[in-house]
Homo-oligomer: 585 residues x 2
Amino acid sequence: MLRMSTLFVRTLRDDPADAELPSHRLLVRAGYIRRAAPGIYSWLPLGYRVLRKVEQVVRSEMDAIGAQEVHFPALLPREPYEASHRWTEYGDGIFRLKDRKGGDYLLGPTHEEMFTLLVKDLYSSYKDLPLFLYQIQTKYRDEARPRAGILRGREFVMKDSYSFDVSDDDFMRSYQAHRDAYVRIFDRLGLDYVIVKAMSGAMGGSASEEFLAVAENGEDTYVRSPGGYSANVEAVRVRVPDPVPYDDAPAAHVEDTPDTPTIETLVAVANERLPRDDRPWAAGDTLKNVVVMLKHPDGRREPLVVGVPGDRDVDTKRLQAHVEPAEVEPFAEEHFARYPGLVKGYIGPQALGERSATGVRYLVDPRVVAGTRWVTGANEPGRHVFDLVAGRDFTPDGTVEAAEVVAGDPAPDGSGPLELARGIEMGHIFQLGRRFADALGLKVLDENGKQVTVTMGSYGVGVSRAVAAVVENSHDELGIVWPREIAPADVHLVATGKDPTILETAGRLASGLEQAGVEVLFDDRPKVSPGVKFADAELIGVPTIVVVGRNLADGVVEIRDRATGSREDVPVGEAVAHLTGLVKG
Amino acid sequence: MLRMSTLFVRTLRDDPADAELPSHRLLVRAGYIRRAAPGIYSWLPLGYRVLRKVEQVVRSEMDAIGAQEVHFPALLPREPYEASHRWTEYGDGIFRLKDRKGGDYLLGPTHEEMFTLLVKDLYSSYKDLPLFLYQIQTKYRDEARPRAGILRGREFVMKDSYSFDVSDDDFMRSYQAHRDAYVRIFDRLGLDYVIVKAMSGAMGGSASEEFLAVAENGEDTYVRSPGGYSANVEAVRVRVPDPVPYDDAPAAHVEDTPDTPTIETLVAVANERLPRDDRPWAAGDTLKNVVVMLKHPDGRREPLVVGVPGDRDVDTKRLQAHVEPAEVEPFAEEHFARYPGLVKGYIGPQALGERSATGVRYLVDPRVVAGTRWVTGANEPGRHVFDLVAGRDFTPDGTVEAAEVVAGDPAPDGSGPLELARGIEMGHIFQLGRRFADALGLKVLDENGKQVTVTMGSYGVGVSRAVAAVVENSHDELGIVWPREIAPADVHLVATGKDPTILETAGRLASGLEQAGVEVLFDDRPKVSPGVKFADAELIGVPTIVVVGRNLADGVVEIRDRATGSREDVPVGEAVAHLTGLVKG
């Protein structure tokens, strides 16, 4: 039994100064977590109870699919991460350190390498597979902008699991088993979530899906169509139009377009000076060339120009996802000085490409198919080129999915117009393929006695993040509303008034409930007003609140549902049975 | 149910090359742990089960004394450790790192500072105390010589708790509550242990005790007397003799003692050239002056001479414990060159002391009381001084407990001669006093409305170390012998032979046991010989082994006790009831 009189908690009336999101505000105010350093939090008793309950939900569902729990160190040697190239690829994103002998270590962000090596160490035959291993462990990422409390911390708890199969077909069953387990986990956590196609990022691998908690404050944007397509916006593939015949297209011609450094000014000048016959020029007729600097993990910097239809911006997160592990940086004034061939505001395809005079790499939106005609920069200040035809007048180095996705864009599979929403990444399931097994030499003998490289999957759940995501999903203006499965207690029992028989009865009820296996948070504080007690109970968010107070004179206690606010009186003698039924379902 | 056919384990026949201790050898061979880096281990499924059971024992006993579980980060900011001076005092003993912004962090070795700040943050009145907080958490120390597997690792799991009291009297109750809880914990773990007085080390504080698992391979040496005195050898206080009158003592005289750089050669030469009337010279008549270099946490180095009776050596660990946080380093040849006043092999008290010509600090064994007469170095090659009287001819800068403790030495409390034994430090309870509360400003209002500084205790249990210590305590030549409370399973069920009814019956028995709440490790491997299965069972060390094999023809199964080797046949129909009784006690 938890007693408010001794529980290590102090609820706060005021929001912490650095907290923007409801989950961050409420978890700090209700005494679940406390900031220790930027992106690094301590768990107070109530918070740690919730965290362990989330762990238990995850653990039981992993055990149910036959996954075996292990535990790796967080402090890891450099060598395996060197072999997979991730020591470098992670860039500034991980914590690195040296021991007293100068040996290089990192604090593990994920453990693909270590699991691969362990399985290599122990197993050698197809008969040993499939194998699922998992751990629930503290992980580290040196986030550039730790924010939002435990939603995006630098030290956090994750469940990571890994599957090992002898063939791709077997792997698909392992992947599906994890996917099904994730559905059960997030259902039990009471999260409102979606499953979307995802980029695989620095993990490598061929395909992956994300489980996103639907949350207007989420960092991730995803899309969905009426016909069932859904994807993280970074993973959306543009529907590629057919090539356009261009035999009749006029030759490209350069025109004076003074003072048109933006698409808006360009369209206006074009319509004024060079009006079209059929309709006015529009932003979509222009090809916008955006230059950025890529910083590679080895520190090398390289300019990149991205060409997108002028009616949409470059989405930096989408671009970032496609150039990983390089980082996208702005292209600064001093960079323009170093590349005189790039005329700011008037960059055009004819000066771009690895085989052009500038040598600057040029990637375009997949919509820029052969035969499309564009108004775009002429590589001279105040001049643009018209009727520049892709495939005739220029050939980019390739395409890139970097243009922003806009509500109403067609789903790539033809399943209708896309709508956009935001979410919090809660789970991620990756088809790793043979990237790590190849890098670290994990092979087994197959049925024919032949060495084959193992096919792997990796699967993550943000365990500490789930605590915050649930609060984002489930709170009101008064406080948190925990789903029963992970609430810090089953019942919050409030004794009000100064009558000693009330406190006595409440104490007996609390003990009776504990004996019945109901976890009780008992507000037994003698000198605290009922108002403060109710406010604390609503803030803390235990799903059922029981009030023992004035009604006791009528032989009843009041049972309140935290989520709906509904109240009912129950005879005090029936309270244990009634509450046990409520709690145990 | 764990099935050997799918369990992620491979037992090894050979000892790992780097393993010296039984616990290290057996835990690796039986598939409990696996080395990931020096002093850093991964836990395989069997090992992680045992670790979690140890955690659960510790957790339940901490909960029972009203301690509340919290969880701090392992990655900690520098500032609080700067305030307590431990950032520097830890020297090379901790892992330090920088984040991407250049901020200084450490990986927490213990969390006194963080707990102190958290309580300061939340509490302000004597009414809030006493308070016990604890965590079970991964900790880090950059050991100079990580060894012995998980007995002395660089990443390890500890339970650390902290008590907060308004007065020293209250504190003594909190200390006693923890001490009692520790007794219950180590009893439940089945450890053979002793409780000894201990140094408080870098923790500061006034007094402390250690719980040592008795183990001949232990790193710690402790003493005990027939009358009940017991202490870690580092904490032993010498019984100080009374001063000796020296009015009649002859004047000191320097003598030629060529080629006597050691005590042995000196005694021989003295007996030959300057024989005593009463008895021969003995090593105990000489005063040996040992010079070392102290390295202070700030990097400063300072020579120190320690004077001990010549019949005993300086015990570096004892000396180390008394000069902390400084580190004891050897005094090298080049150091002698820098201190010409120190004549190697002939160092004497008259050239020593902070006010002497050399200025080198000089501390002596507490037995060197006023009036004692010594043969010792004359600070010239080949010469010694005789009848040098302490308090008359030299006055050291102080005393230090650095002489080795020898079996038969008197206990300081007069409780008889000491015997020496070795152990593994499993728990440590510290009276911190107000060191951390002072450094970080943790005060509360007392009953009179006056600000008082809080009195703290800190209490550690080596949770991962306990797994190894139990094995050191409890194994035989065949393998591990787990105590029931923390065994990876209750019953190891071995099915032998090729008869399909045997495997079927064994499977039904395994299910029946699981339904009765008995944890089963089921060796269901179809193509493995009985010999290999028995060897694995003995190596793995589950306390009860059940064999379903040929005896099934007679309607019985065999039940073996792993510890005693005793066997009995039980009718198969009674096996579940019999085993349930055995397991549940």
